[in-house]
Amino acid sequence: MSTQHPNDDEPVKKVGGFDIRFVIGGLIGVYGVILTLLGIFNASEEELARGDGFNVNLWSGIGMIVAAAAFVAWARWRPLVVPVKDLPDHDD
């Protein structure tokens, strides 16, 4: 699957490929949602006392959702580009 455009002088680049930033954002985001929900619905008095009064799950969860959003935004803002001319001639 070549994306070569014959009438383009710029080195042709293909967008996409495997971008680890989406995976990082996805995993941290899923963790963030699970922890936030646990923090809202499942925080026992005993756990709150253990966390020295902090609702650890809630705040960590919110932090992770923010971090995940930042990763996805970064990956969208600067998508992965692979210069096609440098690639050896193989397709995946």
Partner: protein, 570 residues
């Protein structure tokens, strides 16, 4: 260290924690499957096709090292020695990483070699190459076994699975993602692991600090080993407790020359596990940036590793009792500091993230050893000395088989490791034996064109012999086998052994070179500084890069920050 033979304590993981860990494992295997689609040649498999951006290889560079020793060991050191532990990061890692990026990487990447031993062969011929390739391959198998053993002991302690079940389960997960995706899968997982570790340790650090009353609380409550008030716990210099050298001046010299120069430069600049990650970069300037970018998180990791350790020695009763030498320790040692802190502070859910982070880091440590092993085995041993001139696909296949064999052997060396309480410490010392002379030979070979091939291997052998001799003469570097002739113990002994290895290697190399013929100059282009055209040491695009992508400017900023950190925590 890290024994799990008895049921001293368990983390009470529930359904949510297990789910979080399970999600992590699914993603890890998924990355292996995705990375597999990109593997179409041996360069893809062993060096990720030299296609990865610098921030990915930079994070993988430090993640490969962020394994069991780093997290358990450095939080344990934090609990025991306090602020002096920062030396392992700010003196013992960052300067060497910057040096690798600025000075050495152009030779590695620019010469097109695929491994550190291959550089050795091009510079010094087969004698030094064979010594280096074989000792490296054996060391990787032993270290992979230790990582695997630590991984299995954690699984055993967390989940209660039998040790051998934990061992095999852990080995299968690591094996599946490396055989599938090669180095790319290992590197991507290392990057992912880095963020999971931060997600786990950062909240833990914040809560622990809050509980202890902030940095002021640590200052007020910290005590020395044995329960004595001790200001040494709060200052990094001269670090006499850490080095075991009583004289403060000698202690500083030991830290700067032994740890900061010989040991750390030897480890970070010649250890192929690390260098391989930078070599997978997409351009020379990315390869140079990889260790330099890695140096920035490396400066700040100690805050989420050492500070929890220091806090644990105050707020976790077992660790506090162990440190003061009185009261019930429940069988815990410093090594358990971070696990006990997790048990005491984290609710279910966050606990699962922390367990996933720890498992991730131990797996990554093993994966890094195995992926470096299979490259050196396939290219430097099999292709060089056993079967030359086969098609490329043949060596990728050899690499896959080597990976499986290495994993099976690692299960064996893991059982071997389980027989020793303290193998980790010895291995750290052994590391100094091989890396310190290797660094001496490299640095001399890179800057002195006359250095001969015979000097290459004789220097290595003599340097290693010198380090072994010092370890035997010290009080405890080889445990009871040490003779105690020199009054050195603990870290001080390994610093001096490494220093001796370095000096002897240089002296022997110089003397042997005087009596042997240098190699023809035209064979050394790209390998020796004075014989390499200056243009090929610098990426042509580097001039047009903005300041935050220029390796030398970034390195300068890194150096400035690490000096400021040293001053702040002196």
């Amino acid at each position: 260290m890290l024994q799990a033979s008895d049921d001293t304590f368990r983390l009470n993981a529930d359904f949510f924690d297990y789910s979080i860990v399970a999600i992590y494992f699914i993603v890890v295997i998924g990355i292996g499957l995705l990375a597999r689609r990109q593997v179409s040649s041996s360069i893809d498999f062993f060096l990720s096709g030299r296609s990865l951006p610098a921030w990915v290889t930079g994070l993988a560079f430090i993640s490969a090292n962020l394994g069991a020793v780093e997290i358990m060991g450095m939080s344990a050191n934090g609990a025991q020695f306090g602020v002096a532990t920062f030396h392992y990061f700010w003196i013992g890692a960052v300067p060497a990483m910057l040096f690798l990026g600025v000075v050495m990487m152009p030779f590695y990447y620019g010469s097109g070699v695929r491994s550190v031993p291959e550089f050795m062969r091009r510079r010094f011929g087969t004698g030094a190459h064979l010594v280096n390739a074989i000792s490296f391959a054996i060391a990787q198998l032993l270290i992979a076994g230790i990582n695997l053993y630590l991984l299995a002991t954690i699984v055993n302690r967390l989940l209660g699975w039998a040790l051998w079940v934990s061992l095999i389960a852990a080995a299968i997960v690591v094996l599946s993602y490396i055989t599938l995706g090669g180095l790319s899968a290992a590197i991507y997982n290392e990057v992912l692991q880095f963020f999971v570790i931060v997600a786990a340790l950062l909240p833990l650090t914040i809560i622990a600090l809050h509980k202890v009353g902030g940095w002021q609380g640590i200052k007020d409550k910290v005590v020395g080993v044995g329960g004595t008030p001790n200001s040494e716990q709060l200052s990094s210099w001269p670090g006499t407790d850490l080095t075991g050298i009583d004289n403060p001046v000698l202690s500083v010299i030991g830290l700067v020359f032994g740890l900061g120069f010989v040991l750390s430069f030897g480890y970070w600049t010649t250890n192929f596990v690390e260098v391989q990650r930078a070599m997978a970069s997409d351009s020379l300037s990315s390869a140079r940036r990889a260790p330099i970018i890695g140096a920035f998180p490396k400066m700040f990791i100690p805050f989420i590793v050492i500070i929890p350790g220091m806090a644990a020695a105050i707020i976790v009763p077992e660790i506090a009792n162990y440190k003061s030498g009185s009261g019930d320790t429940g069988g815990a040692t410093y090594n358990d500091a971070i696990l006990l802190l997790m048990r005491d502070l984290l609710p279910n859910g966050m606990l699962g993230v922390a367990i996933a982070g720890l498992l991730a880091s131990f797996m990554a440590g093993m994966a890094a050893n195995i992926s470096a092993f299979n490259t050196v085995f396939s290219y430097d041993i099999w292709q060089q000395y056993v079967k030359k001139d086969k098609p490329d696909g043949y060596y990728t296949l050899v690499g896959r088989i080597a990976t499986i064999a290495a994993t099976v052997i690692a299960i064996g060396t893991a059982f071997f490791a389980s027989n020793y309480d303290n193998l980790m410490n010895y291995l750290q010392t052994l590391f100094g034996f091989f890396n310190a002379p290797l660094f001496a030979t490299f640095i001399l070979g890179m800057f002195w064109k006359r250095m001969s091939a015979s000097a290459g291997w004789t220097g290595l052998v003599a340097g290693t012999a010198a380090a072994v001799a010092v370890a035997f003469l010290s009080e405890d570097a080889f445990g009871s086998a040490s003779l105690g002739v020199i009054g050195l113990s603990g870290q001080g002994a390994s610093f001096v052994a490494a220093g001796a290895a370095f000096v002897v290697d240089i002296v022997v190399s110089v003397v042997v070179t005087m009596f042997t013929r240098p190699r023809a100059e035209k064979e050394l282009a790209g390998l020796v500084y004075s014989l390499t055209p200056k243009e090929s040491l610098v990426d042509p695009e580097e001039k047009s890069l903005p300041w935050f992508q220029s390796p030398t400017k970034l390195a300068g900023i890194g150096l400035a920050i690490v000096i400021v950190l040293n001053v702040l925590f002196r």
